[in-house]
Symmetry: C2
Subunit: 202 residues, 2 copies
């Protein structure tokens, strides 16, 4: 049995958002098809960006297509993440580029926009029955060196994508994390109305 962790919300939200979470239990028998990969990337591609500069880059490693490349990317992960990513068939690195705005002005939205594009990708994963898990736990400079990422680009998150498996595929410590309930701070702590710190009333 795979694990659901639907968001607990005061009013219903769309199932793409309520069903999305970041599981660690990947099925090592089921790859991500090329058509599924295309859908993930198209969702990211059509995300909005400041001035339409599309400041994101995505770097994909598909274990089925390129096992040595996947191994190099995998090797950039933290030891804790390696314990469960070993079963994932796909890794995707989101990268923020310093492409300038129109007129050559610097773009302060590169990371923000890259986050938006990656969120689209992760929600598209839900839409086609896949799971995704973003990680900050990787060596960005090792990835830069291994894959030739230019200095004006900032590696943001490594995303594991694949099909969900039972939590039983996980080692005990990781399984404990997997089974922990999802939680978020109350709306009142992060969402204000009218002025700073004044909790929204809904």
């Amino acid at each position: 049995m795979t694990l659901d962790k639907n968001a607990s919300t005061s009013v219903p939200i769309h199932e793409l958002m309520s069903r999305r979470w970041s599981p660690r239990a990947f099925d090592d028998k089921r790859p991500v098809t090329r058509a599924q990969l295309a859908a993930l990337l198209e969702a990211a591609r059509w995300s909005p960006s400041c001035n339409g500069v599309e400041p994101w880059r995505f770097l994909v490693w598909d274990r089925t297509q390129d096992a040595p490349g996947f191994a190099l990317a995998f090797d950039c992960l933290s030891e804790g993440n390696k314990r469960w990513v070993k079963n994932a068939p796909l890794l995707i690195l989101s990268v923020a580029s310093s492409d300038p705005l129109t007129g050559g002005r610097p773009n302060r939205f590169a990371q923000y926009d890259t986050g938006m594009a990656t969120m689209s990708l992760c929600l598209q994963a839900v839409a086609i029955g896949l799971i995704s898990h973003q990680m900050a736990g990787f060596d960005a400079e090792k990835a830069r060196a291994a894959f030739g990422i230019p200095t004006d680009c900032t590696p943001m998150a490594m995303v594991a994508v694949g099909c969900q498996a039972s939590p039983d595929v996980l080692d005990d410590e990781t399984k404990k994390k997997e089974l922990a309930p999802r939680a978020r701070k109350p709306l009142a702590e992060r969402f204000f109305e009218g002025s700073w710190g004044k909790s929204v009333q809904i």
Copy 2:
């Protein structure tokens, strides 16, 4: 008639992502209900974040509830944006906070995560029949002073939210922008596989 601009993709993507775009034609007769607002904020709230710190803040101004507050926020917008935001019933400012990670480490993902949360909000808008339009064109320091935004927080985007109207409500120059086709760079320019600059083949 309102205007659709579905994304042109090589494979189908979920309609939340394919139908989302950033219209300027808002209906000044239809407010956003409080239940709709709650759904928008809950979608943002359940977005993922590095270490689960939820580094975003959102500041809402609802014209129906608080016309003077809305006017203050509106006054922070660029002149070009004021021309069409004047019909929008809701403004939301997304803000990235420098909340530290566990152990007090600095969080380099604050803006990225805030982008993800804002993207969730914008996709939830599509799900409930609303439109959203994010803007970089506002005076962030003016907003900081007007609403008491702390110095360790970075105002990111102003988001206009409401119901869509016909492009005919717009002035000629804005209408021209509204009717222009949506476009994105080819996948090959932003999406790589195996190593940097090697276009993904799908």
